[in-house]
């Protein structure tokens, strides 16, 4: 089960937190930009409204100039006033044109402007009539008063429309200013909340990351400590191996020296016994009776047996001592040489039988196995020795088989041990270390030797001359 204590889960949580913080900051940034754009836009609209109001004011000024010019002319009949009037009339027309353009998006204002133009026109028409009358008839106070009053009425209508225009723009201005204020407040709140949340999240992630880093540092130093411990342990082990190897080498050397002097020192007295028995038999043959001769013969016989035993032990100890020189060997040839020394026996070989092994050792091995087979086929009606190879569990196995006395598998464990006999020495004479030597030879090659036998049905010795393939 995954929990918050699980490092993987914890890492994922931190990553998720970091991503949320980044997204939050991005969202806040986006909203801020959006809000700023809206604010700039709104400010533009406020400026725009101010401009509209300005133009309306201009228009009003032009209108009041027209009124002033009209009054001036009515009172003085000064034609210069007429030029001022013309100028203001143009100003009015321009102001209306600009207002139309400025409020093109506002149908209500456009409608008002539509009404403003005729109102201005009627006002001006009124004034033109008065002007023409004055030019034609000179100053007539009564008529003038009527025109002025009429003009005043027309002016009031115009003035009302101007006020309406202004009022609409001022309302718009108020709305827009309110919207700006609102938008600003909203942006500030959004920014504050977003930034606060994002920073908070980041702070949590940072704290967790720091904790995680500290935890990793701790486990790293623990790892380093354990690595140091392992290295020390390895060094200690290597030192111990070196020590043991040296001890082993020393005891091997001691054993070697021991066996050398043992073999040498055993041979000398043996030679003395056997030889002096021979001397007696030879030099005193005329004075000794048959019983004495028989006893001396026994001494000689036993000395020979012991000599053979010592030779066999020496040969066996030599196997582990010598250098192994692997060469390609024709085993049929080696078996042929071994069997040639023997008496009548049927030798069955396969067409080709080779091995890569130490020539001298393999010769000894084959000698031992062939001698063994020959010895045990002594009483067989038609003695036969067979040699060959076969595949067993992907491994090449060599074998030497005979149809001799065989052996009881119940005593198999004694077969390859030195001096381990499965038959009495009078049945089948021998040193008792032949098969032990054979086992040493195959082991020296990294191989194995084993046997299969049945009493009266013969025996098969299997062996390999290389380590079992992995």
């Amino acid at each position: 089960m995954r929990t918050a204590h699980d490092p993987g889960m914890r890492g994922r949580l931190d990553a998720l937190g970091a991503w949320i913080a980044i997204v939050m900051v991005a969202v806040v940034l986006g909203l801020g930009i959006q809000s700023t754009i809206a604010l700039v836009d709104n400010t533009g609209w406020i400026d725009h409204t101010h401009r509209v109001i300005e133009v309306i004011d201009d228009f009003e000024i032009h209108v009041s100039r027209i009124v002033a010019a009209r009054r001036g002319f009515a009172l003085t009949g000064d034609m210069a006033q007429s030029a001022k009037y013309k100028q203001s009339e143009l100003g009015c027309a321009l102001a209306i044109l600009e207002l139309r353009i400025l409020t093109v998006d506002n149908p209500a204002q456009q409608r008002r402007l539509n009404e403003l133009a005729p109102a201005l026109a009627s006002y001006i028409t009124r004034w033109n009539a008065a002007f023409e009358y004055r030019q034609a008839h000179g100053f007539d106070a009564g008529r003038e008063a009527v025109e002025v009053r009429y003009g005043t009425n027309a002016f009031a209508d115009l003035s009302l429309r101007i006020d309406e225009l202004t009022a609409e723009e001022k309302r718009l201005l108020a709305t827009r200013e309110l919207r700006t204020t609102h938008s600003l407040t909203q942006t500030r709140i959004l920014e504050a909340v977003g930034a606060g949340f994002g920073l908070g999240l980041l702070a949590i992630v940072v704290i967790r990351l720091r904790r995680e880093i500290r935890r990793r540092e701790r486990s790293e130093s623990a790892l380093q400590a354990s690595e140091v411990a392992v290295t020390q342990l390895n060094q200690e082990l290597e030192r111990r191996i070196d020590e043991r190897t040296a001890q082993l080498k020393l005891s091997n050397d001691e054993l070697e020296a021991f066996s050398y002097s043992l073999i040498h020192d055993l041979r000398a007295p043996l030679r003395g016994m056997g030889s002096f028995a021979a001397v007696l038999l030879d030099e005193q043959r005329d004075t000794l009776d048959d019983g004495a001769k028989d006893s001396l013969g026994e001494i000689q016989h036993n000395a020979r047996k012991m000599a053979a035993l010592i030779d066999a032990l020496d040969a066996m100890s030599r196997i582990t001592r010598c250098e192994l020189a692997r060469v390609d060997i024709d085993l049929n040839e080696v078996i042929g040489a071994s069997t040639a020394k023997l008496g009548v026996v049927d030798v069955v070989l396969q067409a080709e039988l080779r091995a890569v092994a130490d020539r001298a050792l393999v010769r000894s091995l084959i000698d031992i196995l062939v001698d063994n087979s020959y010895k045990f086929t002594r009483d067989a009606p038609s003695p036969r020795i067979e040699a060959g190879d076969l595949q067993l569990d992907g491994e090449r196995v060599l074998f030497i088989r005979d149809n001799g006395a065989g052996f009881d598998m119940a005593h198999y464990d004694k077969l390859f041990s030195p001096f381990g006999r499965l038959h009495t020495i009078t049945e089948f004479p021998g040193t008792g270390i032949g098969l032990a030597t054979a086992r040493r030879i195959v082991q020296r090659h990294g191989g194995r030797i084993w046997a299969d036998g049945h009493v009266g049905l013969g025996a098969t010795f299997y062996f390999t001359l290389a380590a079992r393939p992995k």
Binding site: R267, A268, P269, R271, A278
Partner: protein, 142 residues
Amino acid sequence: VTKLVLLVEDNATDEKLAVRALARSGVAHSLVIVRDGAEALDYLFATGTHAQRDNALVPAVVLLDLQLPRIDGLEVLRRIRADHRTKHLPVVVLTASRRVEDIEKCYALGGNAFVRKSVEFQDFLEAMKTIALFWLSLNEAP
């Protein structure tokens, strides 16, 4: 003048057998027996206990055992070959050893022959007779 045989042998039984075998070889000889490597060298170089020996008594052959007290046979052989007076002296190594290494060392140090002491007295008799015939009558000493 009978030829001289120097027998270097520490084992009394082996010595008796060698004396007997040489006597039965039918080859005329005189025999000097020393019982360790140091004494063998003393005899050959007329030093120590053999300082007073007759300088004319130079052996025709040395029968040298390998397993000797004080100085072993191979070392004796090395010193014989290292000295100009004895560097051509015929040396037959006579040993119970059957080790290939010993044979190789013997020849590497300049031994003239390597003969194994057989357990069979008859074989030993034959060997000693052959040695006596060859080194005492057939071979021309330097």
